[in-house]
């Protein structure tokens, strides 16, 4: 167990190192990165001055070293537009993004489990066929297109739900204002439904298929046949014997799921004008505000790597086979 954890921790460190290297060198791909930081009409003197100020005239390894030091002290440079620290801009918007991502994860996992079980236990019926067809569609459409369609139908034609804006929950919680968080809750959920479905639908479809196929696999195992043969109720066999074991492959992907959803937030937040990191990245792309894009990418990547570490550690406690190997 300890060896596994140490190995896993070392892996994480290597990956974080990789993230810093990649995000650092991405800047240098187009040659001298100074030109990304100055306006197109800048004079040679201005370019030289910026180059010296940002340290791009130093050798690469020195630049990388000061980049890593900056990262460790949470200094990722200033936004080129607002002149405020990029890290702060990203963190300000992180709560809104986390709300959306958590909602989407809940949507994509909690719904996938009953759908997958239903599909597996009714294998071959029209219900199963319908669910699988839905899953196939869910995995084949661009999520942002679904978002646009939801805005058009649910938001504009039926006028059931708001199509943009966000009501905060996490931010008041962080401020210690529990009252506001609670009163905001119903309205926050109303605002979350459309972007949450948009962000989560691909994962929902994939997870439903995954639960179904791992359920089918488990349902064919001898111990399930034994459980049925000894006369246990169908419900007990499905829930106690089959479902619990079919969850194992499912848990592994929850961590990866988070990263997948994080990469989806950029388009989803853009479609729904959600005031999170994704929308910040979209605006920064359009304004070529490099430090903000870089800060967001690095923060998302680190978040993802750390979450995967946590999921793996939790997972070893769930599945004894990993602990022993």
């Amino acid at each position: 167990m300890t060896t596994y954890l140490v190995r896993r921790l070392l892996q994480t460190i290597v990956v974080i190192f990789g993230v810093t290297i990649l995000s650092f060198f991405a800047l240098h791909l187009a040659g001298d990165p100074t030109y990304l930081y100055v306006s197109e009409r800048a004079t040679d003197e201005e370019v030289a001055e910026t180059r010296a100020k940002l340290g791009f005239d130093k050798p690469l390894h020195e630049q990388y070293f000061s980049y890593v030091v900056g990262l460790a002290t949470l200094d990722l440079g200033n936004s080129l537009r607002s002149r405020t620290p990029a890290f702060e801009l990203v963190m300000e918007r992180m709560p809104a993004t986390l709300e959306l991502t958590i909602f989407a994860i809940l949507f994509a996992t909690l719904l996938a489990i009953p759908i997958g079980i239903l599909s597996a236990t009714r294998r071959g019926t029209p219900l199963d066929g319908g669910i699988m067809l839905f899953a196939m569609f869910g995995q084949s459409m661009p999520s942002f297109w679904l978002g646009i369609m939801l805005i058009l139908v649910v938001g504009l034609w039926l006028r059931w739900l708001p199509i943009s804006g966000q009501v905060p929950i996490i931010q008041p919680l962080l401020d210690g204002d529990f009252q506001t968080a609670i009163t905001n809750f119903p309205d926050a959920i109303r605002h979350l439904i459309l972007p949450g479905i948009t962000l989560g639908v691909f994962s929902l479809a994939r997870n439903a298929r995954l639960v179904r196929s791992s359920m089918l696999e488990v349902l064919n195992q001898d111990y399930v046949t034994t459980a049925k043969a000894k006369g246990l109720a169908r419900h007990t066999v499905i829930m106690r014997h089959a479902f619990r074991n079919s969850l194992i492959p499912f848990v592994t992907i929850i961590g990866l799921e988070f990263g997948f959803l994080l990469s989806g937030v950029v388009v989803t937040e853009t479609v729904f004008s959600w005031p999170g990191v994704g929308r910040l990245v979209f605006n920064a792309i359009n304004q070529r505000d490099i430090p903000v894009v870089q800060a967001a990418v690095v923060m998302f990547s680190l978040l993802f790597v750390l979450l995967n570490l946590i999921v793996d550690v939790v997972y070893t406690r769930l599945d004894p086979r990993i602990r022993l190997s």
Partner: protein
């Protein structure tokens, strides 16, 4: 085995009995594949859709009713089936905010989606298979280095890096293809490595090695043909995935230059017209993407089941 070694010694690894068996089996496999395709109906429909799409993309200039970039500001935002006052043809699928013909833009958009999808998967596949086979065949430290690189790439959401790289390099067809290709290689490398290791232990490879056939020749003639099947299945799913990524990146303005019509770009433009209720601008490009991706996914599912009958019905 002795016979194998003899033929290989004469320098013709292609003529080993193992390979002959494969060549002999191939026509019948193709036949049973096409028979199964027709029986399965959905995959057949998917193939028909994809073939139509390829034809449409190839002959876009001949098929498109209008120039996809010609603007008719007077006839902007016309609903589907409205007459074109130039008397050329109808706006079958309506016109956009600049009075451009939506159908023609869709037809030209197929070119970008398919070209990016196929090119990125081909390049990523080549890099991945090469690195995977090298890692699997060489083993040891080479294997370690290549696989650790793969782990690092898998350990964080790739599309974010793609965004970062495209912002720095600037949008454009080549940059887009390269970035998406880099996003693909790991999948191929892992599969190619696993299959190579499995093949390496087989007798025909060991005997070829024993008599001193050069490594690159063994890989080319002996290993590669035997590991292609699973890779082709993955490629089908990956083209679908790349088309979705390309649409998302185009939607963010990081795809090909804006004057080139793309499905993702059309969706991005439709967003500005959404509040006016101009539904056709958003519906058709999305449907086009969905049909393409759905066809590729159905085809991939079918190929996987066909190659591995144990999975049928899963």
């Amino acid at each position: 085995m002795i016979e194998q070694a003899k033929t290989t010694q004469s320098g013709a690894l292609t003529a080993t009995p193992a390979d002959q068996g494969i060549t002999r089996k191939q026509p019948s496999m193709w036949r049973s594949a096409s028979a199964s395709l027709v029986r399965a109906r959905w995959p057949l429909l998917a193939v028909i859709c994809l073939v139509t799409l390829v034809i449409v993309a190839l002959f876009a200039p001949q098929i498109a009713p209008a120039d996809p970039n010609r603007q008719h500001l007077i006839q902007r935002l016309q609903p589907p089936l409205s007459p074109n006052e130039q008397g050329e043809s109808m706006y079958w699928l309506g016109s956009d905010g600049l009075g451009r013909d939506v159908l023609s833009r869709l037809i030209y958009g197929a070119r970008v989606s398919l070209a990016v999808g196929v090119a990125a998967v081909a390049i990523g596949g080549l890099i991945g298979v090469f690195l995977g086979v090298v890692a699997g065949y060489a083993g040891g430290r080479t294997d370690d280095v290549i696989m650790r690189l793969a782990d690092i790439q898998l350990a964080f959401p790739f599309i974010l890096l793609a965004i970062m790289v495209l912002v720095v390099l600037g949008a454009g067809f080549l940059n887009l293809v390269i970035v998406l290709a880099i996003g693909q290689w790991v999948t191929y490398a892992r599969i190619a490595r696993g299959e190579t290791i499995a093949q390496k232990r087989k007798d025909y490879i060991e005997s070829a090695r024993a008599i001193g056939v050069h490594g690159s020749r063994i890989v080319r003639r002996g290993i590669l043909p035997n590991i292609l099947a699973p890779l082709i299945v993955i490629a089908s799913f990956n083209v679908a995935g790349v088309i979705l990524s390309e649409a998302a990146l185009s939607f963010l303005g990081l795809g090909v230059p804006p004057e080139v019509p793309t499905w993702g770009g059309m969706l991005a433009e439709s967003r500005d017209q959404l509040l006016g209720g101009y539904w056709w601008l958003a519906v058709f490009p999305g449907v086009a993407i969905m049909i393409t991706v759905l066809s590729l996914n159905i085809l991939g599912d079918w190929m996987r089941d066909f190659l591995d009958p144990r999975l049928r019905g899963r």
